[in-house]
Amino acid sequence: MTDAIRLKAKDYKSEVKPIWCPGCGHFSVHNAITKAMAALGIDKDRTVLVSGIGCSSRLPAYVDSYGFHGVHGRGLAIAQGLKVARPDLTVLALGGDGDGFSIGGNHFIHACRRNVDITYIAMDNEVYGMTKGQASPTTPMDWDHSKLTPHGPGVRPFKPAALALASGAPWIARGYSGNPNQIAKLIAEAVEFPGFSFLHVMSQCITFCPEQTDWKAIVTESEAPPLADADEAAKQFLHEDGFQTGLLYREQRATWPPPGATAAEEGAPGELAAAFRV
Amino acid sequence: MATTATDSALANFLAHSLELESEARERYGELAESMDAHHNRPVADFFRRMAAEAEHHLQEVAALAGHMTLPQLKAWEFDWPDAEPPETASYEALHYRMSLRQAMQLALANEHAAERYYREFANRTGDAGTAAVANRFADEERGHAAELERMIAALPASGLHLREEDDEPHMPE
């Protein structure tokens, strides 16, 4: 693509205007996605954004590409089926912490393991925003602002990065909605990385978790290169505060499909039928 | 009644022996039922016989213990040379199409292990009375082993591929 016709980030935005609350972190991710697509010169017609249900899952409609807004928790399955059937496409899966780690938890684990070449951006605001503020798997134990769990969830939150590592994800990064340019850079790297890339974005919910504006004080940008050793990464992910940003872990691993797949044979459907003849 | 060192040593020994025999009886019983369910009649019948022998020996040990107070140990608190008591055949050693010869060889290994256990107990214990009982038990196990060896020798020759089956495994659910 020549510079003359190179698209700008805003060209990747659709004409549908986001309805997120002002102050919502997801605006930054939207911003970052379009910047990353522009930087990579991505072909809009060969890009698909797939999401589940939740505030962050509205994102595909706000980007001028193909999109699929699926049901709650199943975006990763749709994305993987799509990419396996159409490896020529660029596929991004998007969703929130409830969508991805609660109802979608099983699909998250297996997507990390299966290593299909897609990018998964989980926008984590530690709450179910769309359904008006219930605790999610990443909500702190003592957060007592939900009527459903008035004394706080009382159980420890997941550590998504640790979960991803244990499940086999070869590329794990974290971003923060206060730094959309860093997110954009990470998205670009994720898309280019051959394999399943997991980008965990701490993306504040201004309406149900106004205290998350304090995150900016505790977010730190990692200066170190990404770890390549799973043991070290395990230790880090289990003990960190969850607010370190950057590319945290990266290893080379064979991507889907597994070895052994063969190309189509000429006349094969007829041969399949013939095999039944006595 | 005060507990003497002799009583303690013997009580501990008998507790172990009771556990050994009752585990053997239970295990052989389970294996027999498993073989019944998979229609391996000869092996099922054999395991049932072994269970009956273990029961017989169990009664002997119980009679010997009489009115003694024995230590009440949990299953994992007994002191065995291996993970399970010596005469307890491993679940993993089975195959639904195992031959009678293979089953008998499994039992034979158990008898040897039991004999070794009793012999070593006799050698280790500081108490003469206990050692005498342990050695007697070891002798009995050796007798069982000899009987099994005779039975094995009397078996007809069998094919090499007994475990082969033509049908595919079935999906019950």
Partner: protein, 574 residues
Amino acid sequence: MSTRYLSIAITGAGGAGVISCGELLLRAWAREGGRGLLRKAYGPQIRGGESAALLKLTADERYTAASRYDAVVALDWDNFTRFEDEIVLDADSWVLCDEAQALPPAVVAAGARVVHVPFDELAAACHPEGRVNMLALGVLGRLLGLPATTLAELAGQKLAGKPRDYRDAATACIELGAARDIACQLPVPPLGNKGAWYLSGNQAAGLGALEAGIRFVAAYPITPASDVLEWMAGGLERVGGQLVQAEDELAAINMTIGAAFGGVPAFTATSGPGLALMTESIGLAVASETPVTILNVMRGGPSTGIPTKSEQSDLNIALHGLHGDAPHLVLAPLDIADCVFTTGWAVQLAQRLQTAAIVLSDQFIGQSTAIVSEPRRCAPFAATPAQDPGEEGAYLRYRLTGSGVSALASPGDAGHRFTADGLEHNEKGTPSSRQSDHQRQLAKRQDKLTAFDFGGDWAQIDGDGPVALVSFGSSAAAVTEAANQLAESGVATRVISLRLLAPLQTAALAAALEGCSRVFVVEQNHGGQLFHYLRGQLDFGQPVHSYALAGPVPLSPENIAQAVATVIAEATRS
């Protein structure tokens, strides 16, 4: 006793190889041009349990379960009681068994003719690796007039991976069995044309799907559908398709939707419990107008039910299991060969109409193997006048059209980007909660189905009689057989075997029922699901009766005929 069919049960336990014996016998029979069906019955063990190979050798291709058995070959009698309700014997039956084991009381009570064959002794004497199932195969082959060389050849193919002496033993035992004179005579049905097919309904469904263009399958194993997926794994590789094993049925249906969104015809197969999990996402396919085909190989329900037995009790969930108003396609193949046609038809319909198609097969046809003449195929649909998505940038994915079908773009198509959505939407695809959009899209999704001309394959209709027998899917064979029996006793019937259940072709069905004085709806479930469905869809002018009997035993043509005759007799009296 009719020579229209010969029914043989082979039973045994402990790894005797009963099923292999039955399969080899049927294959050899097929080679000679015979026709027949093989069903299998098992105990709960994964290996070494009691099992039965239930063969029905026929003069035609009407494959119902046998109501009685002409012969039982018992390699042993271990736990035969499990099968005695199904393996019905009488004084005309033959029993071949080893004298060493006592006869079960049920066999004695039946008064069957017993012929002792020392299977164990003969096999042991024949070869150190000798097996009774191969001996029995030789014996049965002789009784059916099958060449021992054919049996040996087929056995050799099956045992190709086994040790050499094991294979030699098989051949030797077959030959020994074939050389033995048994004091028993079986009425052998006439042979038909050679060059038939030998396959199961599950394989047939897989073939139908592949031939219709399926190139992506997401698979989660479940009894009795796993065979479909396993066959397709091999088939897809040959045609350059993809199969992904999913982590659960929820992933399977969503992966299928993802691939379909990518423009690749996609398919999955499951059974009742899996279909229940999938319903939310099948609704997503309907709402987003993404074409998918789901094969449901029905089994005994509800819940975990009876996984290895057949039933037709998932009609309700297939028709009504999606929340909201979500019209979609429901089809049911009528027999094993018809699995090729109906599955292929369903795939093409789903693609053409951009919706979800649920195909209701069942364990009976799915896991039985039959010899059939070359199955009929669904011809490829003629291409419609080009459904041009229109100018770039002006694409309306859900445009309201006369047919209800709007042009479908796929990722990669330049200038036709859209976001598919489960949310209600306007013509562009933008989410909308407006009444006008909802009304129009609901109508679009319904009208595209009701406006479509499905042609004559919606049902198989035979006969002209005043008594109508209506069923769906695999009940067709038992109902057809019942109709024959009723005809013999002077009751003329019209048999309507439904292949397309949704959208129900009410006008055509009403026309088919015109002139019928009485209607019987026959089905293999407890709740009369088809009966209540039809009564809700049609104003019957005549009395309608329900014959609804759940599994696990296959429907009996005799019982159906008797029930019908009884009702008619009572009605005539009053």
